[in-house]
Symmetry: C2
Subunit: 308 residues, 2 copies
């Protein structure tokens, strides 16, 4: 079937997976159809819980996501997974590993997996994260899992776009526990110690539990083993608990407004950056090099040019 | 010795290493002293060749940098290394590995190594890259090597800030050669196949050579083995060749102006993002959610607010 933008929209809304896949490509390419869809769906945030999962390469995120899919499916909940891969052409293959494992679900219409990589395109992971989530949400999934490698900007991207953010780590990576704490407190709603079958995992978990500050929502520390399939249902319980917490405390609408705020901020910056590239800077640069103006002056001049 | 900002400046200029180290911390912290130094040194771009090196974890970048230091020192050239580490608190330790190896040079005043990590600070690798290079340059080093992991934004950062950018890879990582080519053509001045003692390296190298488009400067493909210390002096020759090319073609002054242009762009964006955070968006978000305005309208309204 060939879709036009109207039929794409209506087919997404009834959960057509091919329409969804097509629409995601439009959004990734920032085509006019993509823009149309995002505008149409913007105010239609659905009931899906957006769950983010981030962690170092080797922490077993992808296997854990597979286990979560299995557990959700056993409860008859539909799941979409969006894997954001900040890998580059030089990183030696996709950091998030082989999505082929997930092929076990290709026959299941209630599981949808999409990878978005920035391979070969320098300068920016998925600016399309927000919009892709909109489409998945409009397609009626019960749970949307966003997976990314914890490196640089990508984990901020996750935290800003998800209702529930999970940070996965394993014990014995030799990290400074104070730094881990700082990072977790900044973005995690749930902290996962994966590979809990390894020695030291229990101890690491309880160390972390002791360090986490009590709060209205106290970040739980979950021990899981994706390979041995343990701790998964306990983890799901915590994810559900966080969802109930967000709903009951009215933090959910706040979280979604924050998501929009972040997205608008990104788009404004993008738009201004584009404008900036068209500004003639030669004169300002020359003055800087001749020490006639300071850097602060130069920035003020550029902002003035940008906004006149 | 206790430095004030004036003495820091004068001591950097005569190559005092402790003053340099202190000044770099000021720049990293974006302190008023840091700002003063950057303004003072802005127009004093020196004669150092700024050499960038990026590549996947495991490609042997750091060992290669060690070899380059050794080779430059044997020619009695002074070298500064700035290692930009985009690792996060969850990435299991510094991606760029242990700088302790470099301790062999601690007694050598003509080698200076500095790591800048974003560990524990989410949302942004070294905004201080440009300024740090300024300081190293002002300190009179002959060569400045900027090393980073090839992932996401960090390799753009490198390419924008360096005179000569080198991309390191190893054969057998299973990457799509067309994607590698696309990425290389975008940022590399020199392409390195490291671990050339491994089987397949020669073949991979000549495949790449055949794919690279001839140009005014045709990207050379260098085979090196950091562990066996082979190909290093040939690599240095290519780095020198590129430097001569930049100078003779007047591309050097252009490259440096581009560096300034990029830096000013970053700073303008940063400044506007800060302003954006202070803007009241509630009303615009509500209108969006009520489908009263489009996203494009919302962005235009925000830009208007930002610039009034």
């Amino acid at each position: 079937m060939k879709f036009n933008k109207e039929s794409l929209l209506s087919n997404i809304k009834v959960g057509d997976r091919r329409a969804l896949a097509r629409a995601l490509t439009h959004v990734e390419n920032d085509s006019s159809t993509g823009k149309f869809l995002v505008n149409e769906l913007f105010s239609k945030m659905g009931d899906a819980q957006i769950i983010g999962i981030t962690g170092a390469p080797g922490s077993g995120k992808s296997s854990l996501v597979d286990r979560l899919i299995g557990e959700y499916r056993s409860k008859d909940l539909s799941v979409a997974v969006l894997a954001l891969d900040p890998s580059s052409p030089f990183s030696g293959g996709a950091i998030l590993g082989d999505r082929i494992r997930m092929l076990q679900y290709t026959q299941d219409p209630d599981v949808f997996v999409r990878s978005m990589a920035s391979r070969g395109k320098l300068g920016g992971l998925s600016v399309a994260t927000f919009s892709s989530i909109l489409l998945l949400d409009a397609s009626g999934f019960d749970r949307i899992i966003i997976e990314t490698v914890g490196a640089g900007q990508s984990e901020v991207e996750i935290a800003k776009n998800c209702d529930t953010t999970m940070v996965v780590t394993v014990s014995g990576m030799g990290d400074d526990i104070q730094l881990i704490k700082a990072g977790i407190m900044e973005i995690a709603d749930i902290f996962i110690v994966n590979k809990s079958d390894k020695s030291g995992a229990e101890e690491f978990g309880s160390q972390m539990r002791h360090m986490i500050d009590p709060a209205e929502w106290t970040i739980p520390v979950c021990l899981t083993s994706a390979t041995e399939n343990t701790g998964i249902s306990e983890l799901i319980t915590k994810i559900d608990d966080h969802w109930l917490y967000l709903k009951s405390s009215k933090k959910l609408s706040q979280s979604r407004k924050n998501r929009i705020r972040y997205e608008l901020g990104q788009r404004v910056t993008q738009s201004l950056t584009k404008q900036l590239n068209n500004i003639e800077m030669e004169d300002i640069i020359d003055k800087l090099l001749e020490s006639k103006i300071s850097i602060e002056n130069a920035i003020a001049l550029l902002i003035h040019d940008l906004t006149k």
